[in-house]
Amino acid sequence: MSRTPLDTVEHAAATPDVELPWAELGLKKDEYERIVEILGRRPTGAELAMYSVMWSEHCSYKSSKIHLRQFGEKAPENDALLVGIGENAGVVDVGQGYAVTFKVESHNHPSYVEPYQGAATGVGGIVRDIIAMGARPVAVVDPLRFGAADHPDTKRVLPGVVAGIGGYGNCLGLPNIGGEVVFDACYQGNPLVNAGCVGVMRHEDIHLAKASGAGNKVILYGARTGGDGIGGASILASETFDDAKPSKRPAVQVGDPFQEKLLIECTLEAFAEKLVVGIQDLGAAGLSCATSELASNGSGGMRVTLDDVPLRDSTLSPEEILMSESQERMCAVVEPEKVDRFLEICAKWDVIATVIGEVTDGDRLEIFWHGGKIVEVDPRTVAHEGPVYERPYARPEWQDALQADDANKLPRPETAEELKAQVLKLVASPNQASKKWITQQYDHFVQGNTVLAMPEDSGMIRIDEKTGLGVALATDGNGRYAKLDPYTGAQLALAEAYRNVATTGAKPLAVSDCLNFGSPEDPAVMWQFVEAVRGLADGCQQLGTPVTGGNVSLYNQTGEAAIHPTPVVAVLGVIDDVARRTPVAFQEEGQLLYLLGDTREEFGGSAWSQVVHDHLGGLPPKVDLERERLLAEILISASRDGMIDSAHDLSDGGLIQAVVESALLGGKGARLVVPDGLDAFTFLLSESAGRAIVAVPRSEEVRFNDMCGARGLPVTRVGVVDGDTVEVQGEFELTLAELREAHEATIPALLA
């Protein structure tokens, strides 16, 4: 890209007719014209590089912005919210002076191209978001979606992704406590690799990224800048994969977790000594993003000398330096008298740190290279005032036919023997089978504070050793439900994550989301997105859990085929004493099994319809958020007062799936009785929402029933923990050994 003479601001003003490769950088004609209008001249090459990455879908949210506003507008009153949407990550008060920050992001496209490094750097990126808030990362979670489990490419992508997440997280010393693994052919050419992180800090340590105060120094620290991932933000994330254009697949970035570990310690030490005015991690769009966002969040003026950026490759052009997505870099704004101390701390941690510029009292971001001024822009126009699209959206015409194709009308098992065979097939199907082979590649327990991890309903981390204060985090998202009805599907994802947190005994507080969809240029996909956002915003309002931040990933499609709309929802909860948590596993024989909530004939999008009939149609289960709220209150009270010894939420796979999991984890069987008014099939396999199954010690039976009765929650006694089989009386019996074989052999057989 180097050209002579240097394309300075003066040069650009003097040569208005020079053609720039704006289209190759992913900009549309009207977007380029707007840049020219903003600047009053043609942009320099460096300015074009900055605008193109910052105005990409990935960085500017140009298609999603107008819809995401609902998360703010409909945000419920919530005293726990200390920092809301718009920062690197939201911050939630969890009591005892602690605050927790958490966020989920996507790294879908890079992980398809290079599974190991794509997934690894996804973890790295979300961890830097958390440390940029001044919080110490304590756990990560990974919601994953892959193509069909038996497809050969899944065997390429999945092991790489899993090893990358495990490798990076384990090197950092962060336990991986949750997430999901879902297989569906719709993700074949476009797997979803979402990564979440939780960080903990004291209230007084909350920091916001901004650069105020003229004379303050801008320090770039961490890894050297190299030629990796150049243009990744704009090109890789904004364009659909197209086999005809291999040049659109630039080299992905390689991460270095040991460097990231040093960044964590170095950053937190600088925070502790109050050396930092503002801070920003370098993720997508690298220095372009960090400088323009820091400047526009402060007073606006900043001067940067690009020659001072430490390089791994001395031949990089200034445009490439601005666009590079080299990992493990951060940018801090530090008062002049504290610079020496800041550099000392970096040196102590063996982290390269360089002053690359300073805050000025103007309102311009100016960047210099070899003595010439190559960028002079209002940083707000780069960072925050990018294009905003009101993309057309329309309910696809196939939606009615899809919903009319009612799963409730599918042929059901006619004999007990057939029901038994289908149950066995279900618990052995890739989506319902044990994911132990995958999750055991992650370190769950490093740091010694993990209370619950997969396959529990939510991960739980102790954050105070003396009081036992802890936080729980669950992620959920069912693309099949969302395909049938995006509004309800998003609410079902929220409801399930909310329920999962409550099932462990923690009180749900706040939400983060990662919205994975196809191309926003397709009105049908846009409609799915709009509906899902509306559903999620309405749901959060009703449940009283605000969205604190998150991420939108669009263009998840191969050719014309979009993935199922997949809103992944993370719910964070707090528990006063982790010793009170409720596990999934059955604890003691003789305990009574109670089903909480109502069971209806709801099979649309169900695991049963997929596994037995390879069918997707009808309507997803109904959502009743008031009921979810009541169920959560009951589960939390019962846990706190010691009325239940185990609990499991009912979701995909229905009651039988939950019972089998609890039985296998506890090594204790169950005898189930089909309640009056239900047939065995519906009882075992319906996926009605707002339900959980709990094990109640006999001594607590009366008290537990009274509590549910007083609060009006339907409760049905459905069996007892007993023996070494799962028996459905009058129907069938399966030994734990045969269930274990079916449930645990599937994934290793396909992938190991």
Binding site: A223, G226, A251, V254, D256, D313
Partner: protein, 90 residues
């Protein structure tokens, strides 16, 4: 029997944490004057039969699909003389 060597190196623009760790250690150990280190992998393949074009094409193929991750790595294939192979194998 002939030996074919496949060298696999990270592409130049890709970060090489291992090479960097070595490079940083050098001055600490008193070895000055090395400005950069890149670390790669060397595969020595003992080939049955003659190393003709067909054999090299096969090796190129296996290197591309299995030995190297061509998203982030480059590789080169070269034939070592039989003498060298015999000497090294003793």
């Amino acid at each position: 029997m002939a030996r074919v060597v496949v060298d696999v190196m990270l592409k130049p623009e890709i970060l090489d944490p291992q090479g960097q760790a070595v490079q940083r250690a050098l001055p600490r150990l008193g070895f000055d004057g090395i400005s950069d280190v890149r670390q790669g992998k060397r595969f020595e393949l003992e080939v049955d039969g003659p190393v003709d074009e067909a054999a090299l094409a096969r090796i190129h193929d296996l290197a591309e699909s299995f030995l190297a991750n061509t998203v982030i790595e480059d590789f080169s294939v070269k034939v070592e003389s039989d003498d060298v192979a015999a000497g090294a194998a003793k």
